[in-house]
C-alpha cells in the first residue's frame, strides 16, 4: 500500500476525480473519500475515531484569492517529481533578461544543475535540482513570485 507506485496511482485517482480527501485503513477496513464541492463538509460524529485529516481541512472558502502552494495538482502528473522552491522570492528562469534559460523542457538535470535563481532580499540565490532526471514541465513564469514549497518544475526521475 505504502509503495510510491500505489501512492502515485491513488493521487492520480484523486486528481482525476477531483477528490479532496482519501483516507484508507487496512486493519479496521475503512475508506473515506471526499470530493471538491462548493460547501465543504466536516463530519465530527462523536463516536467516530476522529479521522484527523478528515476533520482538519479548514474547508471554508478562503476569503483571499487562495495563494497556497499548488503542490497537489503538480504531484498529480504520474511518475513526476516536483522541484519545489526552498524559499519565498521572485523566480528567474534565466541569469539575465537576454540570456538563455537555465533549463528547458527535455533537458537532463543532475543534483547540482542550477535550474533557476530566486531573488530574496536583493540576493539572487542559485537553486539546484538536488535530483537527477529530465525536466518535463515548467510551472512558473520568469519573474514570478514563488512561495515556500511551491513547485517550480516537474522532473521525471531517472
Amino acid at each position: 500500500m505504502t509503495d510510491l507506485k500505489t501512492l502515485r496511482q491513488l493521487i492520480k485517482l484523486m486528481v482525476d476525480n477531483e477528490l479532496t480527501e482519501l483516507d484508507l485503513e487496512e486493519g479496521g477496513e475503512k475508506i473515506r473519500l471526499k470530493r471538491r464541492d462548493g460547501s465543504p463538509v466536516i463530519t465530527a460524529t462523536p463516536m467516530a475515531v476522529a479521522p484527523p485529516a478528515g476533520v482538519a481541512p479548514a474547508a471554508p472558502p478562503a476569503a483571499n484569492d487562495g495563494a497556497a502552494p499548488a503542490a497537489t495538482e503538480a504531484d498529480a502528473d504520474e511518475g513526476l517529481d516536483p522541484l519545489k522552491s526552498p524559499m519565498v522570492g521572485t523566480c528567474y528562469l534565466a541569469p539575465s533578461p537576454e540570456a538563455d534559460k537555465f533549463v528547458n523542457v527535455g533537458d537532463r538535470v543532475s543534483a547540482d544543475t542550477v535550474v533557476c535563481l530566486i531573488e530574496a532580499m536583493k540576493v539572487f540565490n542559485e537553486i539546484k535540482a538536488e535530483m537527477s532526471g529530465t525536466i518535463e514541465k515548467v510551472l512558473v513564469d520568469n519573474g514570478q513570485a514563488v512561495e515556500f514549497d511551491q513547485p517550480i518544475f516537474l522532473v521525471r526521475p531517472d
Binding site: 466536516i42 465530527a44 462523536p46 476522529a50 484527523p52 476533520v55 482538519a56 481541512p57 479548514a58 474547508a59 471554508p60 472558502p61 478562503a62 476569503a63 483571499n64 484569492d65 487562495g66 495563494a67 497556497a68 502552494p69 524559499m87 519565498v88 522570492g89 521572485t90 530574496a120 532580499m121 513570485a145 512561495e147 515556500f148 514549497d149 511551491q150
Partner: protein, 447 residues
Amino acid sequence: MFKRILIANRGEIAVRIIRAARELGVESVAVYSTADAESKHVRIADRAICIGPPVATESYLNIPRIISAAEVANVDAIHPGYGFLAENAHFAEVCRSCNIEFIGPSVESMRTLGDKVACKQLAIKHKVPTAAGSKEGVTEEADAVKLAKDIGYPVMIKAAAGGGGRGMRVANNDMSLRSGLNAARAEAEAAFGDGTVYIEKFIDKAQHVEVQILGDTHGNIVHLFERDCTMQRRKQKLIEEAPCPKITNDQRKKVCQAAVRLCKAAGYYSAGTVEFLMDKDKQFYLMEVNTRVQVEHPVTEAITGIDIVKNQIRVAAGEKLPFSQKDVKINGHAIEARINAEDPERDFAPCAGVVEEFFPPGGFGVRLDTHCHSGYRVPPNYDSMIAKLIVHRPDREQAIDTLHEALREFHVAPTKTTIPLHQRLMKNGHFRRNDVDINFVERLLAG
C-alpha cells in the same frame, strides 16, 4: 495611511490585526508556515504567502523569509504582533532599512527599554519607582554580596537581557547568592547571548500591575490606565483584568504617570506596556517594559473604548493620536481568560490535534478573540493558546459572574483546555476578594 501591510504572526493576534487593518481600509497580507495552511488568518487576509515549514526558526522567526514575502507582496509596513519577532530590534531595523515601516516603536527605544539595566537607570533618573539594587550589571561576587547586605535578603538575581521571568533567581543568603550568581550568568549567557546580571530586592507577596501606553511620532504619549495580571502560573498570565481593583485613583494616577514619564524619556511611540510589581503596601517597583501589543490588550480596549491595534497602525503611518489624555476614561470592568489547549490533569501538557467541537459562548458583554473553530487542528509547533474570552461589565463582581457563565457555556471537545481551571478560579473566594499574589494559582494547584 498605508495601502497594504503584512502581518508577521499567526493565530488569534494575526486575526486581530487583519481585522483592524481591513476596518481601516488597509489591505492585509498574511504569512504562514505549512502547519497553518488552513488557519483562520490565512483565510481572512486579502492575500496569504507560505514562508516555510512548521518550525518557527524557518518561518515566523525567520527574518529573511518574512522580508522576502513583504517584498513579493509589496507592502508598506509589517505588524509583528506579540511573541516571535515583536521585540526584536534587529528585525525592526531590517524592515526600515528595506523601506518597510515596522509597526512598533523606534529601534532605539526598543534597545533602551529592552535592556533591563539601561531601562532601570532611565527609570531611576525619571523617578519611576524601582526596587533597591545594583544600578548596573554585577560581575564580582564580592560586589554582589556587599550589595545584598545593603539592601537585605532575600534578593533577586535577574538577567539584563531577560524577560517574562526567564533567568531569574531568588537568593536568601550569601551562599545561595554566590551559587545563584554564577548559575544565572551562565543561564543568561546561554539564553540571551548576554551574561550580564543584576541584583535587586526581592518583592514578596507581589501583585502584577501594568500600564498600557500609546504614543505617536509627534511627541504625544498617553496611558490607557492599568491592568492587573496577578493570576499567573509559571510566570504565564492566566487571567488579566482592568482596572486594577485594589488601588485608589491617586495610586492609579501616580503609577500611570510614572509609566508615561519613562516612555517619554525613551522617546517611545506606538503601543507599549510598563510592568510593575506592587507590594502589600501598594508600593510599585518597575519590572520591565514590553515594546509591543500585549496579549491582554482587549481588557483595556473594553474599559476605554479605544482600539489599540488600529491606533498602532495609525501612528506607524505617521498620524497623530486621535485623542488626548483627558479623553481617556475608565468605563466598567473587564476580565480576560486565556483558553489554552492544555491538560490540567497532565500538568498542563499542550494538547495538539483536532478540535472537533468548538462551541463558544456569546451574548451581552462577551468578546471572543480566536482563530479556532470546530474542525480546527491545533498544530504542535506553537503556543497552546486557542482563544481569549473577554467580558466587560459595569463592575468587577458582575464581570466575574458573566465570565463564569460564559466559561460554563464554552464547549470544546475532545481537546483538553484550561476552561475548567478558569471556572474554578471564578468561584474562588480569594480571587473574588482579589486577595491574591503572583504565586496564588500555583499554591492553589499545589494543594
